[in-house]
């Protein structure tokens, strides 16, 4: 049923309505995308922290800043409630496929670990990705290390990530040349004794090209081990510390253990993953605020447009407003009518914007380039947050409607009815 005598006026109203809804939808879609993706990435990182097999991290400023990693790990293990401490050295090196007819080089991330210390620091999601025990020769890495002399026989064993093995055509039992630089002649041939999987990462495929080898082997290969050639002796980037189960779930006890470890290594930073999680959550909160601030620009434009639409409606509805006033309808009922219309437009815009944001994120998760796709697939659509955004927009529509209400209540009744 046609509700207006003049179809042109009705179409005009509909167009204004649709444009206002579209403006608000565009303004709402942006924070929906940013907050859901940002929140999803944060949640993913938090889950990684919570699923880690270690609870305390010792780190130093700069790269490879921890000295005496082997002995330090043993010292830390002497602290009560600590079950294992594993030093980890992470260095970017080059890998050559020695069996290929033409030697092709691939940059890879090499991680040096003490095999038997490393496995307990793996979380429930990572643990199945690695062979157990790690087939890296001496499980304690003490033979080659030989109390810092590095005079013992090296294992020359290496584990290769499945993406690297797949991309490079490497199989267990073959050898691979690892070199600290692009000069292959500086490289050392290692036996591929196993493969390991890579957990889902938002870093893309490059981060999945990795090798794992004994700490002392990597230290010697890269020069971050023996005293004579290194600025730091027996280097590592971090020492991951696992504690007993009862302590890991007790923040107070965990803080106590962290303090004890800190006392052993006063020059290094010691933090618990609980702290890191809290810092990540705080950072996530700051980012959310930033996203909302960024979105407020678009939202302001949308609400200004809404205010103009409502003012225009008052202008065109002057006579209807005057009739209502003449009949004795109170100002508040006219105000509620205008604010209600503003709220309806805002609610429709918020709903459309939320749906648009969802569609954008889902589209990115399906069809975008790999890194963006991976990131978008982590998005979390938190109903509470989305409802808060929608309610906020609807509440702000009252602000946008204030000018229109003021104008409506100032319509001169007798003049408008002439």
């Amino acid at each position: 049923m046609r509700r207006f005598g003049r179809g042109g006026r009705l179409r005009h109203f509909r167009l204004q309505w649709v444009l206002a809804v579209a403006a608000i939808a565009a303004a709402v879609a942006l924070p929906v995308v940013l907050i859901s993706v940002g929140g999803g990435v944060s949640a993913h990182e938090l889950a990684n922290l919570e699923n880690a097999g270690y609870q305390i991290v010792v780190s130093a400023g700069g790269s490879h800043g921890i000295s005496g990693a082997h002995s330090l790990a043993h010292e830390i293990e002497s602290v009560g409630s600590v079950t294992v401490a594993c030093p980890i050295l992470s260095v970017a090196i080059d890998a050559y496929n020695s069996t290929a007819s033409t030697a092709s080089m691939t940059p890879v991330l090499a991680e040096g670990v003490i095999p038997e210390e490393f496995t307990p620091t793996l979380g429930p999601t990572e643990s199945p990705l690695f062979p157990s025990p790690l087939p890296l020769g001496d499980p304690t890495d003490s033979v080659h290390y030989a109390n810092g002399s590095y005079s013992g026989p090296a294992s020359y064993d290496v584990l290769v990530s499945t993406p690297l093995a797949g991309g490079y055509g490497i199989h267990v039992g073959q050898s691979i040349v690892l070199s600290p630089s692009t000069n292959k002649s500086l490289g050392v041939a290692y036996n591929v004794t196993g493969l390991f999987g890579v957990p889902p990462s938002i870093l893309g495929p490059t981060g999945a090209f990795a090798v794992l080898l004994p700490l002392s082997d990597l230290q010697v290969l890269t020069g971050y081990g023996p005293r004579a050639s290194a600025s730091v002796f027996d280097a590592a980037d971090t020492i991951e510390v696992a504690v007993t189960g009862s302590v890991s779930v007790n923040p107070t006890a965990l803080a106590h253990v962290r303090d004890e470890v800190q006392a052993l290594v006063p020059l290094y930073s010691v933090s618990s993953l609980t702290q890191e999680a809290a810092q990540l959550q705080a950072a996530s909160g700051v980012l959310t605020g930033f996203y909302l601030a960024l979105s407020s620009v678009g939202l302001s434009v949308g609400l200004i447009f809404l205010a103009l639409v409502l003012l225009r409606r008052v202008e065109t509805d002057r006579r209807s407003i005057a009739i209502r006033r003449a009949l004795g309808l109170p100002g508040r009922s006219i105000a509620f009518g205008i604010l209600g219309e503003g709220a309806a437009i805002a609610a429709a815009g918020a709903l459309a914007g939320t749906l648009a944001g969802y569609v954008v994120v889902e589209s990115l998760a399906r069809w975008a380039t790999s890194t963006v796709q991976e990131t978008a697939s982590l998005a979390v659509f938190d109903p509470t947050t989305l409802a808060a955004i929608a309610l906020g927009v609807v509440a702000l529509s009252a602000l946008a409607g204030a000018a229109a209400v003021r104008a409506a209540l100032r319509v001169p009744v007798t003049e408008a009815l002439r």
């Binding site: 049923m1 046609r2 509700r3 207006f4 005598g5 006579r319 209807s320 009739i323 209502r324 006033r325 003449a326 009949l327 004795g328 309808l329 109170p330 100002g331 009922s333 009744v413 007798t414 009815l417």
Partner: protein, 234 residues
């Protein structure tokens, strides 16, 4: 009509000037004093621009006098807040306009029901009363029609039903038949006389039409913003 009854509406030396202090200053009403008692039917006639509509707007609290005082049931309305004036208009006055002024987006039933909404009358009761009023003005079965689907006479009938929605004591009609043909004019006048009589309401009719004015028992004639003649029928 019993002129000894206490006045329903009283105007005491009321003047209304538009554009005070400007070059376009217009004195629409000049020190008018008028007493209207309950149940009275009054016609207001006079040439265009003589102040008839201004008088009606002041009686119906749509406008405020520049000087003088308007009283309703002995109560001065000049001191009332906008909200109180709205409430008095809502409950005490039924307006009927020359151009009907129905809301185009509402059905006939919704137009009649509209003034009942602010009084928090239950919806079922509102709809029942609105249907009854439409039946009373001869529009049974036209409840769901929009104004553009009604004839001029039907629109004015809806406007009369709307004016009666909150059972007001005063009906103010500004040229109620000005846009109607003679057949509809007679029908609307019959209706107004009937509802005034049935409800013992006060009726004030502004009109150019002698046939319309003849339906009232008291006849005011205005000229240049003043009442120049006030005749009560015996």
């Amino acid at each position: 009509m019993d002129a000894t009854r206490p006045p329903r509406i009283e105007m005491l030396g009321v003047s209304r000037t538009y554009g005070v202090g400007t070059a376009d200053e217009v004195r629409a009403l000049r020190e008018v004093s008028l007493t209207i008692v309950p149940g009275e039917s009054v016609s207001v006639a006079g040439p265009s621009g003589c102040g008839k509509t201004t008088l009606l707007n002041l009686l119906g609290l749509l406008d405020s006098p520049t000087s003088g005082d308007v009283q309703w049931d002995g109560r001065p309305v000049g001191t009332l807040s906008d909200r109180e004036r709205s409430h008095l208009r809502l409950t005490g006055v039924g307006f009927i306009f020359q151009r009907f002024y129905l809301l185009p987006t509402l059905t006939a039933l919704e137009n009649v029901e509209l003034p009942m909404r602010p009084l928090r009358t239950p919806r079922a009761e509102r709809l029942r009363r609105a249907s009854g009023l439409l039946a009373e003005v001869g529009l049974d079965g036209r409840e769901r029609a929009f104004p553009h689907q009604l004839s001029g006479g039907e629109e004015q009938r809806v406007a009369v039903a709307r004016a009666l929605a909150n059972r007001p004591g005063v009906l103010l009609a500004d040229e109620p038949t000005g846009e109607l043909d003679s057949g509809n004019t007679r029908a609307i006048l019959d209706l107004l006389v009937k509802v005034r009589r049935d409800r013992d309401a006060t009726l004030v009719l502004v009109t150019h039409n002698p046939e319309v004015a003849a339906r009232a028992s008291r006849h005011l004639t205005m000229r240049d913003g003043a009442i120049v003649q006030d005749v009560r029928e015996a």
